[in-house]
Amino acid sequence: MVPLSWYLALSAVLFTIGVAGVLIQRNAIVLFMCIELMLNSVNLTLVAFSRFLGDVTGQLFVFIVMVVAAAEAAVGLAIIIALFRTRETLNVDEADLLKL
């Protein structure tokens, strides 16, 4: 059996890669994809624990997370499209109206 810590380590690495991606990327859509990556890594953690503790709750949680991720992706992409219509660019740095 693969030890639990290996799964957790992989999940951590994927999560960290996603975080780094959020910092590096300027394209809004790719930013979103990095966020999806983070969510996926968390899913892995949940399923791993669910297996090792024998509880199905973890997998149910994953189910819910997936639904939420889907909804979020839909709405987020809709916002990006709306933003793109006004600005003609997908650079998130252009959206700085909150600057003081």
Binding site: L23, D93, A95, D96, L97, K99, L100
Partner: protein, 692 residues
């Protein structure tokens, strides 16, 4: 009944103040005079009650009345309660009597002035305050009256609001008084901490009978000097302010900017005598402090002669009388300082009569001369205003000490007591009391001279009205009492109406016969006045009596003192009396001789400039304070420190925000980076804790 004596004028003041504008002159005058008349009648009735009241254990007659409890905190109790004893009885008689006459006079004098109702409201308010002052049974209530008369003085001096001079004078009066009040307050605090009570009568405080501090201070076991000197001197500082002694007399001449009835009532007869009242009331404390007595006597004498010399050179008729008042007040304090409090009070009473008479007469002269106040533009008035002349004639003789008039008896009493007192030490081999007697006698001479000068310049000689004579001072001296009479110096002077003349006549009668209540034993009288006042006034110890055992109580000391008096020569007393008559007559003669021929004779400039005391005070006190306030308190403390702190705090936060602004960049990735850094820190911290 006592409270109605004070409340009647207060009610008059309230009615006149609130409704006077609509009531019209006749009604306002009637209410004002009526309320004072009620007060006067009640005062007479109360006095009658007093002299028939039984004497209590200390041989004192008194009537007390409790109005309401004002302050009762722990051991400290101050009530609105009234005390009528011989001292306050005498005072309420002449305050209400002379006050009533002046009110009637003022109805005639102020006729036509647009502020008529306001004047009488203030005047009635003043009566209320003054009566509270003399009837109060504790120091705090006295102080209420004290401050109240100061307030009314301010309101009334500045009555002619259009004149800057009046406004300045009223402020000066109030501020200088305040300096004295500071001394008074400290004295009150000291009395309370030393004796536990500030009341003049025995009070029931918290179930315990606490004797008045006056009784306590007369106890044989009390130590002489120290705190008692401090209290006596501080009370005297208050008296200096209110009764215009050196160094706080400067307000009184300037106060002549107010209407003449005000000068008569407040600055001659009543308010300025409040200081003497205070000193007499607290005589028990004063006599326990030989130092204080020396100080009081010397300042009284110094003021007397100082003011007399200045009065010699003034050209404004009211200013002459003002300096004369200061000088006479000096006499009263001289009397208190040598231990002859009764003589001082006697002089207060006679002075009220003749000084009020002189001031009202001067007002009549001014009125008749169409608001001319400079004596250089008068002259020969006696054929135009016979009644005014006749009454002022009596007043003039009274103040100069003409025999058998009231002023003679009271002034002579003071001079005799100054000569014969044993309460003062010797200075450089000479007995101080004799030196002071010399000064007082010289002042009597000067008094006669300057009063004669005033009378001669006004009523005798060539008629100088209609031609302006010199206005070589900067400030305007005519036109102050301007109230619809218009203009100055044209047309012949005329006598005043009966409303103004009648009080003059009554006051003249009082000035003439008022002295007979105090004829001393040496001249055949039985000195009712002094015997009446004796129980409430302490007796001074001969100087050098062993400290440590103070005098016995007042009445025990009275017996040996009276006997001691009798041992002195009656002949010395009569000789001194004769000498002072002589001085008076010489003064009158000199006055006629010098000024009869040359009424406009110029006096030394320094006297005319009143020794430049005002300028000195300005230089030494006022300007430094002003500069300190402006440069120090305002520019440094207020602008730099306080405003700097407040504005600085605002600017600090402004700049802080300016710095913090840079964190709000608007870039989402920045925010994410910051969150990440924070998350790393937090995870690291918890991980560290967990792994230890």
């Amino acid at each position: 009944m006592l409270k109605w004596i004070t409340l009647a004028p207060l009610i008059g003041a309230i009615i006149n103040g609130l409704f006077g504008k609509r009531l019209g002159e006749k009604a306002v005058g009637a209410i004002a005079c009526g309320s004072v008349a009620v007060s006067a009648v009640l005062a007479f009735l109360s006095f009658n009650q007093l002299i028939h009241a039984p004497k209590d254990a200390n041989d004192v007659r008194r009537i007390t009345e409790h109005f309401f409890t004002w302050i009762s905190v722990g051991n400290f109790q101050a009530d609105f309660a009234y005390l009528l004893d011989p001292l306050s009885g005498i005072y309420i008689l002449f305050i209400t009597g002379v006050g009533l006459l002046i009110h009637i006079y003022a109805v005639g004098y102020m006729h036509g002035d647009p502020g008529f109702y306001r004047f009488f409201a203030y005047l009635n308010l003043f009566m209320f305050m003054m009566l509270t002052l003399v009837l109060g049974d504790n120091l705090l209530l006295l102080f209420v009256g004290w401050e109240g008369v100061g307030l009314c003085s301010y309101l009334l001096i500045g009555f002619f609001t259009k004149w800057d001079v009046a406004g300045d004078a009223s402020k000066k009066a109030f501020i200088v008084n305040r300096i004295g009040d500071f001394g008074f307050m400290i004295a009150t605090f000291l009395v309370f901490t030393t004796f536990g009570t500030i009341s003049f009568v025995t009070k029931n405080i918290g179930g315990q009978e606490v004797a008045s501090f006056l009784t306590q201070v007369s106890a044989p076991t009390i130590a002489v000097g120290g705190v008692l000197t401090a209290i006596a001197l501080l009370l005297f500082v208050g008296a200096t302010g209110k009764s215009a002694q050196i160094p706080l007399f400067v307000w009184l001449p300037d106060a002549m900017a107010g209407p003449t009835p005000v000068s008569a009532l407040i600055h001659a007869a009543t308010m300025v005598t409040a200081g003497v009242y205070l000193t007499a009331r607290c005589s028990a404390v004063v006599v326990k402090s030989p130092t204080a007595m020396v100080v009081i006597a010397c300042i009284g004498a110094a003021t007397a002669i100082f003011a007399a010399t200045i009065g010699l050179a003034q050209n404004d008729i009211k200013k002459v009388l003002a300096y004369s008042t200061v000088s006479q007040l000096g006499y009263m304090f001289l009397a208190c300082g040598v231990g002859a409090f009764a003589a001082g009070i006697f002089h207060v009473m006679t002075h009220a009569f003749f000084k009020a008479l002189l001031f009202l007469g001067a007002g009549s002269v001014i009125h008749g001369a169409h608001d001319e106040q400079d004596m250089r533009n008068m002259g020969g008035f006696r054929k135009y205003m016979p009644f005014t002349f006749g009454t002022m004639f009596v007043g003039w003789l009274a103040i100069s000490g003409f025999p058998l008039l009231s002023g003679f008896f009271s002034k002579d009493e003071i001079l005799w007591k100054t000569w014969s007192t044993e309460a003062l030490p010797t200075v450089a081999g000479f007995p101080l009391s004799k030196i002071l007697w010399g000064i007082a006698a010289l002042t009597a001479l000067l008094t006669a001279i300057y009063m004669t000068r005033m009378m001669v310049m006004t009523f005798w000689g060539e008629e100088r009205f209609g031609k302006s004579h010199g206005d070589d001072h900067g400030h305007a001296s005519h036109g102050h009492d301007d109230h619809g009479h218009g203009g100055h110096g044209h047309g012949k002077p005329h006598e005043s109406g009966w409303l103004m003349v009648a009080p003059l006549v009554i006051l003249a009668v009082l000035s003439a016969v008022g002295g007979f209540v105090g004829v001393p034993a040496a001249m055949g009288g039985s000195n009712h006045f002094e015997h009446f006042l004796e129980p409430v006034i302490a007796h001074a110890q001969p100087h050098g009596a062993a400290a440590g055992h103070g005098a016995a109580t007042a009445e025990q000391a009275a017996v040996p003192a009276v006997k001691a008096e009798e041992h002195h020569d009656t002949s010395t007393e009569l000789a001194l009396a004769g000498f002072s008559i002589l001085l008076g007559l010489i003064g009158i003669a000199v006055g006629f001789a010098v000024f009869g021929k040359n009424p406009l004779k110029k006096m030394p400039k320094i006297l005319e400039d009143k020794y430049k005391v005002d300028e000195l005070y300005d230089e030494v006190v006022v300007t430094p304070i002003e500069t300190l306030s402006r440069e120090g308190l305002w520019k440094v403390i207020d602008v730099k420190i306080i405003d700097g702190a407040v504005n600085g705090t605002a600017r600090l936060f402004g700049s802080l925000s300016g710095i913090l602004r840079y964190t709000q960049t608007g870039f989402a990735r920045n925010y994410a980076a910051v969150i990440l850094v924070g998350a790393i820190v937090v995870i690291g911290y918890f991980g560290y804790i967990a792994l230890r």
